[in-house]
């Protein structure tokens, strides 16, 4: 057997922290032959990114390789000098990163950064470097490449920044590309073009790729081999179809079950019996008497900003009591703007918002906290961490709306907070903790408990699980579904994840550039989309079911 391009033997990485050394990667073995694409999947804390940074020796100062070898073309680079590494970086192994915009120097033009990458390994004149840079931009299919050479990263979209990053990574024709969550935070359609680009370029140049991702579908679609990591160890490795069809390890099984697919149901997301709480049955909803206004009605909603940008251009829909409506679209489609206008956090430019037949669009956003409708409409924010006051304990966070809107205090307040915490499955002993002492899933529960504490009728969920791991997302989605069924809550569910919306919402509204492209029954809409745009969106969703 020939020597693989990259061989990792018993690699362990230790971080020195304030509470002593922590082993993030606990001895892993991997082989990567030239020209193959290997996926490393796992949730946060599994050590997948740390592995990548250990291989490229780009760990931050606190982390070091404590054990094992990294053989690149048969040579151990785990202890190579910085001089050797510099010759390897870019020329033999290169990386692309999560958050492409931050990965580019904000005050240097794209052309100069590409020239930097080119000249790091060979002498080139200014003119030659510029020509090469232009060629690279063409390779990564950037529109108007001549113009982009002199652009700064902030003038480009996230997807374009990632293309520039790819161009930098392939500039010196390395044999191995490590992509660390290259499409996290990008829209599905952008994700698809970026991933297709990576796949095509690396295949053309016969480069080996390590794709690090938390998205099983993505790994299944693009990789020939997949390894699953959990807490610093590799628990399973196989070809994607085998891995996702017949997962062997319990962790893999849990992960596969938790990943929403076009056919999954909320009930089936949590495979682990330990966490599994049966959902109450869908409440029988009586048909509202004729003439009863829907819970929420939005008519021709428009939001224009001062510099003439129209974020939302005339959107109408309604949500019935106990109904869950999904709002999907790419970034910039206006879905967050709509949700904020409905929550009365920002004012609309035009249009009507009616709650149970009463107009609430006349109440200005900065006075809405005094309105009796405030308690009827509550919101769960996207980032469970940033949306909690760091100086409020979990108890304070949940109690705050109760104090303000229900004027509760002392025992009554305490009872209600405990009630809410129990409802969202937050252990009472965690209530004294501050956000930084809670896990992502626990913070999400605090955010939900805060929103439901005043017993609203309508809950606006703005990407409530976008920042969570799939297994945590699964539990959170089940929790939301249970709350909806128990209390006959209505949801406006904003998300970019089509599989989640398909599962959670009876009806779905597809937005593009601030306008409704299509809306209707979720089942119908996803199975037989009417508009071209919805079809594009659906086609871009990576999935592992058809991977075989």
């Amino acid at each position: 057997m020939t020597e693989p391009l990259l061989r990792i033997e018993d690699l362990a990485v230790t971080f020195s922290t304030r509470r002593g050394p922590v082993e993030a990667v606990k001895g892993i073995d991997l082989d990567l032959p030239a020209g193959r694409m290997l996926g490393i999947v796992g949730e946060s804390g599994s050590g997948k990114s740390v592995t990548a940074f250990a291989v490229t020796r780009l760990l931050d100062a606190a982390g070091r390789i404590s054990r094992g070898r990294v053989l690149f073309r048969g040579e151990d680079i785990s202890r190579a000098s910085s001089k050797t590494l510099r010759a390897i970086h870019g020329a033999a192994i290169s990386m692309i990163f999560q958050n492409p915009r931050a990965a580019l120097n904000p005050i240097r033009t794209v052309g100069l950064q590409l020239a930097d990458a080119l000249r790091a390994h060979r002498p080139l004149s200014d003119k030659a470097a510029r020509e090469k840079a232009l060629e690279l931009l063409k390779t990564v299919l950037i529109r108007e490449p001549e113009k982009r050479l002199d652009a700064y990263p902030h003038e480009l979209s996230g997807g374009m920044c990632q293309r520039v990053m790819i161009a930098m990574a392939i500039a010196c024709e390395p044999a191995l590309l490590i992509a660390d969550e290259p499409t996290t935070g990008l829209d599905v359609t952008t994700q698809k073009t970026v991933m297709d680009l990576i796949a095509r370029i690396t295949a053309e140049r016969q480069m080996a790729v390590i794709l690090i991702t938390h998205d099983l579908g993505l790994a299944a679609q693009y990789c020939q081999d997949v390894v699953v990591m959990e807490q610093g160890r590799i628990v399973e490795r196989a070809a994607p179809e085998a891995l996702f069809r017949r997962p062997q390890h319990p962790y893999t099984r849990r992960l596969v079950a938790a990943s929403p697919t076009p056919t999954s149901k909320v009930e089936d997301l949590v495979a682990d019996p330990e966490y599994h709480v049966p959902l109450p049955p869908e409440p029988l909803r009586e048909k509202p008497a004729a003439g009863t206004p829907p819970l929420l009605e939005v008519v021709n909603l428009v939001k224009r900003y001062n510099h003439g940008i129209t974020a939302v251009g005339g959107v109408s829909f309604s949500i019935g009591a106990g109904e869950s409506v999904g709002l999907v679209g790419e970034s910039g489609s206006g879905k967050s703007t709509i949700s904020r206008m409905i929550c009365r956090l920002i004012d609309q430019t035009e249009g009507e918002i009616n709650f149970e037949g009463q107009s609430i669009s006349g109440i200005p956003a900065d006075g809405f906290h005094r309105s009796p409708y405030r308690r009827q409409i509550q919101i769960v924010f996207q980032d469970p961490h940033d949306s909690l006051n760091p100086r409020f304990s979990a108890f304070d966070a949940i109690a705050h709306p109760l104090k303000r809107l229900d004027r509760l205090s002392n025992t009554a307040l305490k009872e209600r907070v405990l009630d809410c915490a129990a409802k969202v499955g937050l252990p009472a002993n965690l209530l004294d903790r501050f956000p930084h002492q809670l896990s992502g899933g626990q913070k999400a529960r605090v955010g939900i408990a805060r929103a439901i504490s005043v017993r609203p009728r309508l809950l606006v969920l703005d990407e409530p699980t976008a920042a969570l791991d799939v297994s945590v997302q699964a539990v959170t989605l089940q929790l939301l579904e249970r709350l909806r069924r128990e209390d006959n809550l209505s949801f406006l569910f904003v998300s970019h994840d089509l599989n989640v919306v398909r599962m959670m919402c009876e009806r779905t509204i597809v937005l593009q550039n601030g306008c409704v492209v299509e809306q209707g029954e979720s089942r119908r809409l996803f199975d037989a989309p009417e508009s071209e745009y919805t079809r594009t969106l659906l086609a871009a969703v990576p999935h592992f079911e058809g991977a075989a």
């Binding site: 490229t56 990965a103 580019l104």
Partner: protein, 343 residues
Amino acid sequence: MSQFASTARRAGRRFVSSLPALLGVLVFTFLLMRVLPGDPAVFFASGPTAGKEEIETIRKQMGLDKPMPEQLARYMLDVAQGNLGNSLTTGQPVSKDLRERLPASLELTFAALLIALLSAVPLGIAAALKPNSLVDHGVRLLCALGVCVPTFVSGLLLIYVFYYLLGYAPDPTGRIDIFTSQPPRMTGFLLIDFLLAGDLSGWWAAASQLVLPAFTMALFVVAPLARITRAAMLSSLGSDFVRTARSIGLPRWRIVVVYALRNAILPVLTITGIVFSTMLGANVLVEKVFSWPGVASYALDALLASDYAPVQGFVLLMAFIFVIVNLVIDVLYGIADPRISIE
């Protein structure tokens, strides 16, 4: 170029928006000077025996018998015409005094700032490259010393060592020693005027006279500059784009200078602006210790003599310089960071 145009537009807008602040300073200093204790009319009378009539005449001369609003209106009208009143101590128009003395202060401050930047930025970078190393701790100690030793003490210490003990420095009084003749006045900045006159020995004399006070002042501001450089460098060295620079195999110095430092320079610029303005006002102690004929010591003397006009003029000058410095920093910011120019 559009970037240049937008920077200019921004600077212009900033200048216009700072005009009300200048006006506020004008009114505030006027009022402040009127509520301070001490009657200038008494002070400037011929002596302790001066009679009531004489004091009254002086008061009339100075316009102090008029009601406050009228005094203020007249004052503002004068300022608008560039007339800052007359100094009673020097007997000259304040604007002339300030014009004569401002270059001395500016020369000292610029020299000190240059010294401070040239030492603080490398120190900050060195500290950031090896955080918590011996170098880092050394820089931290140096900075602590710089801030906690008062300027008049460090000034005297420097004089003691370099003039008295070692004899390297010339007699630490004034901008130029008594044996060197003044160059023809062109800009008021001695170093420039000597160069323009082609008098190199004179230039050397002025420069060596400048070294001690400039170092004294620099010592005081090295600390904030070095600390902010360190902090900014640390954060930009830890940023994603520096990691990218490493991942494509750039040489170390290029990563530090082109990627980290160019980004870290923005907060340093801000602090430099603040430091410069503080130095101009705070260098009164240094000017006193080194008998430097600058504006700050001039204002202090006037204040002690209850001489309103020079103090008001000084404060107004400082406010004006503060506005100008902020403008310059703003423009530099726009050049250093392309993200600023889009608004």
